[in-house]
């Protein structure tokens, strides 16, 4: 009897020590859930979710403060991915945050009108605008995420939204049109 208690107690202490050591030795620095959520967000840094960027939104979601349907640029795809990750049911996008854009957009600066005030440069979350004080500015289209944050600060309204350039490289085969017969029959 006593041997059994002692040996079990000894094992418990041993495993406790191993677990305790592992917890210290292999401690993960940042919250991995936040990283995982952040990886699913589109990184436009547009703030439409009411948080100042994608990572703060991811942190809020991890704490349970924000819902999964607050990201208009991500659209349905992101919501489904987030639901999958967090083990909740997907839901439609919250219309308060904005609407899903039909196609991806970027902004361009009308360089004839630009006065070189640098306000848009300060607003751009990904440093995609190039220019200096009293010099013409321009958008690096490759890097623009289409967040449109540069538009409100512009005093001369010289920034326009245009669709992202389509090329053969990012062209997609259209989904075949479904006939009524096919739609009618499920399963």
């Amino acid at each position: 009897m006593l041997t059994a208690i002692l040996s079990l107690a000894g094992l418990a202490i041993l495993f406790g020590l191993i677990l305790g050591f592992a917890a210290v030795r292999f401690r993960v620095e940042s919250d991995p859930v936040v990283d995982k959520i952040d990886a699913l967000l589109p990184q436009t840094q547009c703030g439409q979710c009411t948080y100042p960027g994608c990572r703060p939104y991811a942190e809020a979601m991890a704490k349970g403060e924000a819902d999964i349907n607050q990201c208009p640029p991500g659209g349905e795809q992101t919501i489904v991915a987030l639901a999958d990750l967090l083990g909740v049911d997907p839901k439609p996008l919250n219309p308060e945050m904005g609407e899903v854009k039909e196609e991806k957009t970027v902004v361009i600066i009308d360089e004839d009108i630009c006065i070189g005030c640098t306000l848009c440069i300060q607003a751009c979350p990904v440093d995609a605008i190039l220019g200096a004080a009293k010099q013409m500015h321009t958008v690096i289209e490759e890097e623009c995420t289409g967040c449109n944050l540069c538009i409100p600060p512009c005093p001369v309204e010289c920034i326009y939204i245009v669709p992202r350039k389509k090329s053969i490289q990012n062209w997609k085969w259209p989904k075949p049109e479904e006939t009524q017969v096919e739609n009618g029959a499920k399963g």
Binding site: Q77, K172, K175, A185
Partner: protein
């Protein structure tokens, strides 16, 4: 030597299709007159787009390099004839999107004058590396249709020893006969190319697989290869899609290329016969890839035949060389009836991977497709052992992760499932839709990763600037405090004030004097 006794294997599935190869093989390969202009898309093949190194107005000679490779999976582009560059801009190209793409346009001067060519009599004076360099510089890509830069497939790699070189002369798709005609007419060059490839790969043997519906081609190649004991010509049974790389390897060797990997992983490299011909032209004659043989066929073509044309020749010129179409409104298809796609402009030019231009009655039965009844005919026909109906459900529901679990990317888009489907479901289009959708999602993912990095860097930078500003401010404050004795400062201020006062007074005096 022809091996009739060599054991052959079979892949699962496949179809016996009507061949329609007769009409375009009655006449020999013909050349056509120089077209009024040549349009050369900078994207000729898989991988990175080439970059133009000429400008508008430049005079170029035949074979002169006009665009440079960018990146590893890329090859340069050469002028197919001598003439003047008249434009570099967006033109219609043969692509299912109907989009325009960046092209170099040459107006031929009619001289067809070659730039200097480096001929070599014996390829063995070169090292395998030098041969790959020549093949790369000559802009050779796989001419069977996929268009992978050939020099990469001539590299045996450091450890992976390539034992077998397979030349693909199966040409299994209906209507297409360009490889058949090439084998009949230029068997010697193909074998010479095969010898160079064997040398470059340091491979032991070469198998040439030709479908048994091409007896002329088989005997021509057999004659040319009879002197070489390491080259074996194998007549393979006619069954679509034997010309698929992995299918032909299975038929000839019994080996299966693992899912999502290349034949190199099992010691095999597979090239098209036309590519071997191009390698011969590049290494021995010093001629880069500037022309190819194209089959023009289909029941709407008045005189179907095979044409040797310069890269960049508009489809219209090829159609005209075949006496035109019986119905001008027939849509053109690039490639065969099973795997080809509709080309939206007859002004689109021939590129290096264009093996066939087809103009035939539209027999597509996809208009009224019906629900899937799970009959599994598609699964029986699939030569890659996939479950096409599962892939269809997942692609249709946009469940791309699941589609990938079911090996969507092993699908070779041969169209067998599509062909046998009793509900006429456009299955291949669903797979193409899913594949491109996944690629674009991956591109977006890369883009968002870059955006995250840039955003994080910006945050860091702003913070650093803030910190530095605060530090500077602090240092200034300290400096002020240190120089400490406030009297000195006060004195300096007083002195400055005095100076101003004196100046004002003297000005006042001057004014007074003037008035």
């Amino acid at each position: 030597m022809l091996s009739r006794l060599q054991q052959l294997w079979q892949f699962r599935g496949g179809l016996h299709l009507d061949e329609y190869k007769q009409s375009s093989t009655t006449a020999p390969i013909q050349t056509i007159p120089l077209p009024a202009k040549l349009i050369l898309p900078l994207q000729q093949h898989l991988g990175h787009t080439a970059e133009a190194i000429v400008k508008k107005g430049d005079k170029v000679l035949k074979g002169q390099k006009i665009a440079e490779a960018t990146g590893y999976v890329s090859v340069p582009l050469h002028a197919p004839t001598s003439g003047t560059i008249i434009d570099i801009g967006d033109y219609p190209v043969a692509h299912p999107s109907a989009m325009k793409s960046s092209c170099i346009v040459i107006e031929p001067d009619g001289q067809d004058q070659w730039a200097e060519k480096q001929t070599i009599s014996d390829y063995k004076t070169l090292t395998p590396e030098q041969i790959r360099e020549i093949v790369s510089e000559a802009g050779i890509v796989g001419m069977g249709g996929a268009g992978f830069p050939s020099f990469i497939k001539l590299n045996p790699g450091e450890e992976k020893k390539v034992k077998t070189l397979i030349l693909n002369g199966a040409e299994c798709e209906p209507y297409i006969t360009c490889d058949d005609m090439l084998m009949r007419e230029q068997a010697k060059n193909i074998i010479a190319g095969a010898r160079i490839m064997l040398y470059s790969l340091q491979a032991e043997r070469c198998l040439i697989g030709i479908e048994d519906n091409k007896p002329e081609a088989i005997s021509a190649i057999q004659n040319a290869a009879s002197a070489f004991s390491d080259i074996t010509v194998v007549a393979v049974p006619t069954l679509y899609p034997t010309g698929g790389e992995k299918q032909l390897i299975k038929v000839l060797t019994g080996l299966e290329v693992p899912s999502q990997s290349l034949p190199g992983s099992i010691g095999i490299v597979c090239h098209n016969v036309a590519t071997a011909n191009a390698v011969y032209h590049a290494v021995i004659l010093g001629e880069p890839s500037v022309s190819r043989i194209v089959t023009v066929a289909g029941d709407k073509v008045k005189t179907p035949r095979n044409l040797e044309v310069l890269i960049g020749t508009p489809f219209n010129d090829l159609i005209n060389a075949c006496d035109g179409l019986t119905d001008e409104n027939t849509p053109l298809i690039m490639g065969g009836p099973m795997m080809g796609f509709r080309v939206h402009s007859s002004e689109a030019p021939v590129i290096k991977t264009c093996n066939c231009i087809l103009a035939k009655e539209d027999q597509s039965h996809h208009e009224q497709h019906m629900p899937c009844i799970r009959c599994a005919k598609c699964a029986e026909a699939c030569p890659v052992n996939l479950l096409p109906q599962q892939l269809y459900w997942y692609a249709r529901a946009k469940d791309f992760d699941k589609a990938q679990d079911y090996k969507l990317f092993d699908c070779i888009e041969c169209g067998c499932c599509d062909y046998v489907c009793p509900s006429h479901i456009p299955l291949v289009q669903y797979y193409r839709f899913a594949k491109t959708e996944i690629w674009v999602q991956e591109q977006d993912k890369q883009k968002s990763d870059i955006a995250r990095e840039r955003h994080e860097f910006r945050q860091l930078r702003l913070e650093r600037e803030k910190r530095e500003r605060a530090e500077r401010h602090k240092q200034k404050q300290e400096a002020l405090n240190k120089s400490g004795d406030k009297d000195k400062k006060q004195e300096a201020i007083q002195a400055a004030l005095d100076r101003v006062k004196a100046k004002r007074e003297s000005q006042q005096e001057n004014k007074n004097q003037e008035s």
